[in-house]
Symmetry: C2
Subunit: 120 residues, 2 copies
Amino acid sequence: MDTRTVAAEFTRLCKEGKADEAGARFWSDKVVSIEAMDGPMARCNGLKEVQAKGEWWYANHDVHSFETEGPYVNGDQFALQFKIDVTPKNGEMAGKRMQMTEVGLYTVKDGKVVEERFFY
Amino acid sequence: MDTRTVAAEFTRLCKEGKADEAGARFWSDKVVSIEAMDGPMARCNGLKEVQAKGEWWYANHDVHSFETEGPYVNGDQFALQFKIDVTPKNGEMAGKRMQMTEVGLYTVKDGKVVEERFFY
């Protein structure tokens, strides 16, 4: 499955609100996930850590809407833009509703996502 | 000048319709520009080739609008989303008005853009 095909299918699932299913289907066992912040989840190595980050995120945020635009492809990479409307449940931002826009950059190898990198 | 500062200033100029000025100010002499297509301009190496590509593009397109969203930053890179409404003046698409959305990914070193990569 080439990058454009992976990108199309991954994006279709995200647009249907199935970002978790997109990950389950396309993350490589060795996927690396890189956030644009310091802290324990700045870099997650491997499927288990990346899945755990996702589970933490969904458990700790009320997601009011999650919109996906794209995909935008170049070579073995594709980008998506996310518009996210959430309220954190815990921490110093608890209860504060926020609208965020991010870009996710995905690198594909052998039909799997081997790296995801988030920009904000 | 760190990546976030370069990103903010580069983006400000793009939002003011001064993408050429953003390039003139921030492109490294050794900047590499990578398009998501085959052909002679798929990869431009160095300031002169990148400037020539820009001049070709502006000379061959009627630009009705050019919107920039961002910046989205991670480490030494930032991403922008462009919404472009153009009519090509020449070639097989001449006279056909098109709306395109792209993502530009910029890599910064020593306060200069050393690579730009476009996704569509």
